[in-house]
Symmetry: C2
Subunit: 194 residues, 2 copies
DNA sequence: GTGCTATATGAACAAGCGTTCAGAACCAAG
DNA sequence: CTTGGTTCTGAACGCTTGTTCATATAGCAC
């Protein structure tokens, strides 16, 4: 026997990415087999290799897509005041990460499963994102908008704090997303000394 | 053949734990084989089963030890002022986590590889730790020492921020541990509105 | 020095892994 | 209705996995 339900190249590809994303996020890259992914898609394992050269590339593509989307979705900070830029960044980060918890999880947890070259590529993208925040913090420092000593440390602190929202916040809970954004923005603003 | 170098029960046990800790932190639980651990210890894989019933227990023991040590090393907060308690917590968290990066990494990243019962046990310990901080924040709220709105959110925010130090701080870098502690303490104090 | 026990070996087990590939089934175009 | 090319199956590949166990040794107590 061969294909039982017809030709589906346009639909199988995305399904594989979705299935891999969910399974990697839930069980971890190393713990998920190609057969599990295939089974989730409703296909045999061999068929996956029409869409990806190997398992590692599947992971890398997911991470790269996520980081690229993150960078291009980030509002451009030009021509705004430091406080507005920082507030915009805080609200953006929380909302964007909240919308794709699986991709965020993978992008943070599976770095060690990338080949050295792939790791360097993802780390570069992450660095670009962090630099955007760092530039905002430096701009606010220069203009005297706030008093934070070390912009690099503050960058790490703010990003860690904001990314942490994903570990506990659920939209069905007692707080709305915008309430969470409000409270984090207040904490960030105070933390940088504004 | 059998043992080639003698009887080592008192030394093989700890060596297994150390090897497992390092390998799990570096490559992830699922990506590390019992044979790799055994090889690191200088022993055959079968010998590991004199010290652990299975691979899962090895992971759980490492995580449980870490969380237990964390809880018992945490300074007792009684009879101090809110600000002192919070500062003590911030400095303690940074220092303690800095001393054992592998255990911290595992305790955060390998939760999904625990059986449901083991997961519940670790989560409970983590909850106890978070409650200690939350109680400090509530005490400060009640005494008017600071103005943070939601103690639960602030707890998550502070812990995420502090734990993030481990992702970038290295003692060989440009900053000393106490400088980092100082700056984070200042950011935390400001963030809670003190 | 003899015997006991704890500790280790090394082979074996069934199961699962990522990946390849010949051939079958399907769809679209002529 | 045939042809051509894309998509999938199912079996196979060599290898690794966690775990077990009979067997052998090392070191301690006597």
């Amino acid at each position: 026997m061969a294909r039982t339900t017809g030709s589906h190249s346009g639909i199988t590809g995305p399904k594989i990415r979705t299935a891999a994303l969910e399974l990697f996020a839930k069980h971890g890259f190393a713990a998920v087999s190609m057969r599990q992914i295939a089974s989730e898609v409703g296909v045999q394992a061999g068929a996956l290799y029409n869409y990806t050269p190997d398992k590692q590339s599947l992971l890398f593509d997911l991470m790269q897509s996520h980081m690229t989307e993150l960078l291009s979705a980030l509002p451009n900070e030009d021509a705004a005041q430091p406080f507005e830029m920082l507030e915009q960044f805080v609200r953006f980060h929380i909302a964007f990460h909240h919308e794709r918890p699986e991709a965020v999880f993978i992008a943070y947890m599976e770095l060690r499963n990338l080949s050295p070259e792939n790791f360097a590529l993802i780390e570069d993208l992450r660095g670009q994102y962090e630099n955007r925040l760092q530039n905002i913090l430096i701009a606010g420092q220069a203009s005297g908008a706030w008093t934070v000593k070390d912009a690099k440390i503050a960058t790490f602190a703010v990003i860690a704090m904001l990314t942490g929202v994903n570990t506990w916040f659920r939209s069905e809970g007692r707080l709305s997303l915008s309430e969470v954004q409000d409270q984090y923005w207040q904490m960030v603003r105070s933390a940088v000394g504004g």
